[in-house]
């Protein structure tokens, strides 16, 4: 742990490892931080559904890595109560799909308590939620970001790299507002027995020291000039893959990763689209009422005259997530789908 004080030291790690390190460091730094969730700290257990809290109960004890009954409303409610009274809980649900079981607590309580109290309460909690489709069928595969996009009072974070995961989770823990922290199952890393088939492994250099990434700052993942492609979570990689193929068609793509969708860095996006005149949004949320539509509306509302072509959405179709890999593959937007749509713009 001494390395952590070395301002220059970094280490290659997966997102799962980066999240684990973050929680560990924040818990060391601040006694108020604790974790609460199902199967997160049991000895010999899983360390959460995707190993993020593995080993932490040995260091911090079972009071601070608090295992709960299967009670999502309870988990969220307890996190809210603890946050109201001086703690900084990091709650989690094993699959983001289960957030619906805690929806009243998240939307009617966590998001509104500050407002309803005339700005007097604060609810500094993080709710971690793994999303994305991994051939588990309709109830363990959804991408729920778009629902929470529509909840004033919640911040919504979507890390796509190990570096960002640490900086954003640190910022989330220190934020005084409730934060929905979405993780993508296929981005945790391709090592270990919880690694999912089809995982991308965005292993990266992660600083061991303390840093935060401020919310609302997007990142250009690839510079380009002909078309802007916006994607979050795994779609960042879909966009990058598409952009490589498009290079061969001599179409230069600018790939943008928003990192947080609430707040959203519209400035960076607008600047890019002003330059390219074209925008394609890739997203694993279903289309109607989803994030891509919001961005499309926002862009044309603000920089309509710069648009050479209509904004294009490449999203999941309006169906539940199917089980069969063949169908799931069709459901999730692929690089080739993005390529096809981009080519139509030229």
């Amino acid at each position: 742990m001494s390395m952590r004080n070395n301002k220059n030291s970094t280490q290659k790690m997966t997102i799962a490892e980066s999240l684990r390190l973050t929680i560990q460091q924040e818990m060391e730094r601040d006694k108020k931080v604790f974790c609460i969730g199902e199967d997160i700290g049991i000895k010999g257990g899983f360390g959460g559904a995707f190993t993020v809290t593995l080993g932490l109960s040995e260091q911090f004890g079972h009071e601070r890595i608090l295992d709960t009954p299967i009670s999502e409303t309870g988990i969220a409610g307890v996190a809210i109560g603890a946050a109201l009274s001086g703690m900084r809980p990091i709650a989690d649900v094993q699959y983001s799909d289960f957030l619906f079981c805690a929806m009243d607590q998240l939307v009617n309580q966590a998001a509104k308590l500050r407002f309803m109290s005339g700005g007097k309460l604060k609810v500094p909690m993080v709710m971690r939620a793994p999303g994305g489709a991994t051939t588990r069928g309709s109830q363990h595969s959804q991408s729920l970001e778009s629902y929470f996009l529509h909840v004033p009072g919640l911040k919504v974070v979507c890390p796509s790299t190990a570096y960002d995961a640490k900086g954003l989770l640190t910022a989330a823990i220190r934020d005084d507002s409730p934060v929905l922290f979405f993780e993508h199952k296929l981005l945790y890393g391709s090592k270990g027995n919880r690694a999912e088939k089809g995982s991308i492994s965005p292993v990266g250099e992660v600083p061991l020291y303390d840093y935060t990434i401020p919310f609302g700052k997007a990142k250009i993942r690839k510079k380009g000039k002909d078309v802007t492609i916006l994607g979050k979570l795994r779609s960042v990689y879909t966009a990058l893959e598409a952009s490589k193929i498009l290079d061969q068609h001599t179409i230069s793509c600018e790939v943008i990763d928003p990192r947080t969708i609430v707040p959203f860095d519209s400035k960076l996006l607008f600047n890019s689209v002003k330059k390219t005149g074209r925008l394609v949004i890739v997203d694993e949320c279903t289309k109607t009422g989803g994030w891509a539509g919001e961005i499309s509306a926002l862009v044309q509302e603000n920089i309509f005259k710069y648009l050479k072509k209509p904004v294009v959405r490449v999203t999941a179709p309006d169906t539940p997530v199917p089980f069969a890999p063949k169908l799931e593959n069709f459901f999730i937007p692929q690089a080739k789908d993005v390529v096809k749509e981009v080519l139509k713009l030229f």
């Binding site: 307890v78 109560g81 009243d104 308590l113 109290s117 934020d175």
Partner: protein, 317 residues
Amino acid sequence: MNKKLLLSMHRKMLTIRLFEEKLNSLFLQGQIPGTLHLYNGQEACAVGVCENLNDKDWILSTHRPHGHAIAKGVSLQSMMAELFAKETGCCGGFGGSMHVGDINKGSVPAIAIVGGNIPIATGVALSFKMQKRKNVVCCFLGDGAINEGAFHEGVNMASIWGLPLIFVCENNLYGASTRIENMIGVEKLTDRLKGYGVKSFSVDGMDVTKVYTMINNLIKKIKFGQGPFFLECKTYRFVGHSRSDTNKYRQKSEEIFWKKKDPIIRIEKKLVKEKILDTLSIDKIHEEIKHELNQAVKFAKSSPHPKILNMKKYVYA
């Protein structure tokens, strides 16, 4: 029970009653927006509980919160201003009748989703325990709330973690128009608690001294590391469920039966009998409180409206 305590509880109960009566007439005059769930009849519950608490003990409340907040010490002015939707209200005019409270008094702005406050109360109690604060949490709920999933999850967690928490269930026999006895499969409401290993008690919720004593004992047990507990206060609301309700689903005889138990008349009788007060001094207290309430109304009326500008400001911390 000492004089001072009795006097204090009497004054608080009366304040609540007169506050609600005032509100009702203001509402009928069209001066108060929204809706009201009044607390008339149940005053002994809030006061008997909160008289045991200090500002660092927290309560969580419901859609029927005025009595709880007043008993916990939230100022009449800030309550009245909130109901008038003014910036000086305890929630700055952002909350309204169903969300009154003042965290500085340990009164968490109320939660109007039935049962929604229960897991939150569990969280507060957990955090008190984690922080080794020596305080307790009292979570008010109605009889109707015990059928919500949130009740189940919140009570179960409080139980397994042994938290410093008292669930105070005001059983006024009805959830809106629905009699609780038809909505549970057990004979007594407190039977529900057998499923959680939470010790439960019942008390005459029309007698403030009984409620007070019961809570006092439970808090002692909590200080010795026991808890959580569940206390059913048997009570009755003397008014409609909300502003438009005329109680046609209740029997007149039932109403009369319960009105005879009016907790305020009861304590006033006791005060007279024990020669702590005479009727004259009681009248004087009534007048004092009415005056206070008029002052509060004046304050509320003359307060500014909340600023639109602050709307954005209060969304995120």
